[in-house]
Amino acid sequence: MKARVLVMPRSGVLDPQGKAVAQALAGLGFEGVAAARQGKVIELELAETDPAAAEAALAAMCERLLANPVIEDYTIEIA
């Protein structure tokens, strides 16, 4: 089973990369980009076949390793 974890800076937490991306897009002449935030995405190939069990395992992985709860939020997407 394939799964995807999105890890984004929590709202309110400064995101220097996102800010720089938004500015660079404006500099290249792309108008109408009000804001950008940058995070990371991790695509995983899991042996687990049960979606609920996979989701639980992924949540545990996020808590333990993939996301830093102090500054990041995560979302789990199962294919």
């Binding site: 220097p16 990369q17 720089a20 991306v21 660079a24």
Partner: protein, 217 residues
């Protein structure tokens, strides 16, 4: 020789490059701001090390799209020499003057240490002061120096004698131990190690000096 050093926001080896150039050429180097759409007349353009735009998104990505880079690309096509060191190498691959890309170090950590390079070709204005096989000591200091190119490109680089330097002690996982490459016309060199930090005996080595001197010659 007239040299120009480009200053991007976040460049931090611009002064170091200038000092090394001035020592080798005896002439002041011009510092050009990234926002300038034009270059002053120059024989050599240096893209210095540093963290242009904080290395945000991808190292060198945003700098390679700055106004001055259009002028640098035109100059390179005219045959003006372009030297990209560290972040400057990343900018050169991002803007397409050199093939491939620089990925995150295999060890995933920033690495600052002296490395040993083997000179692979003396056939360029940059490396003419060395002999093939020379071993040079100079520092690396980067987080993203892991050279990547597809197999065909790697083959072509080797076949066309465009690999300038290889690591003898690969610090970052680079394909083929590549530390520096030339473009097809041999007037553009990108390299991760810092020759400008190895051009002063007091700082522990002068192996980089011949690179600047052969450019000045």
């Amino acid at each position: 020789m007239k040299a120009v050093v480009i200053v991007f926001p976040g460049s931090n080896c611009d002064r170091d490059a200038r000092v090394a150039l001035e020592a080798a050429t005896g002439r002041p180097a011009a510092m050009v701001w990234h926002g300038d759409p034009d270059l002053p007349p120059a024989d050599l353009v240096v893209l210095p090390g540093g963290f242009s735009y904080g290395d945000y998104l991808r190292p060198g990505a945003m700098a390679s799209r700055s106004p001055v880079m259009q002028a640098v690309i035109r100059a390179a096509r005219r045959g003006v020499r372009v030297l990209g060191i560290c972040n400057g190498f990343q900018v050169l691959t991002e803007c397409g003057l050199l093939p491939g890309a620089l990925l995150r170090n295999a060890g995933l950590r920033f690495v600052c240490r002296p490395v040993t390079l083997r000179v692979e070709t003396a056939d360029s204005a940059f490396t003419g002061g060395y002999r093939p096989g020379d071993a040079l000591r100079m520092p690396v200091a980067h987080h993203d120096g892991n050279y990547f190119a597809d197999a065909g490109t790697l083959e072509r680089l080797a076949g066309e004698d465009r690999i300038a330097f290889r690591y003898l002690d690969n610090p970052n996982g680079s394909a083929g131990d590549i530390a520096g490459i030339l473009n097809g016309d041999r007037n553009v060199l990108g390299m991760m190690p810092h020759p400008e930090r190895a051009a002063d005996a007091l700082l522990g080595g002068t192996d980089g000096r011949a690179l600047f001197e052969s450019l000045a010659a």
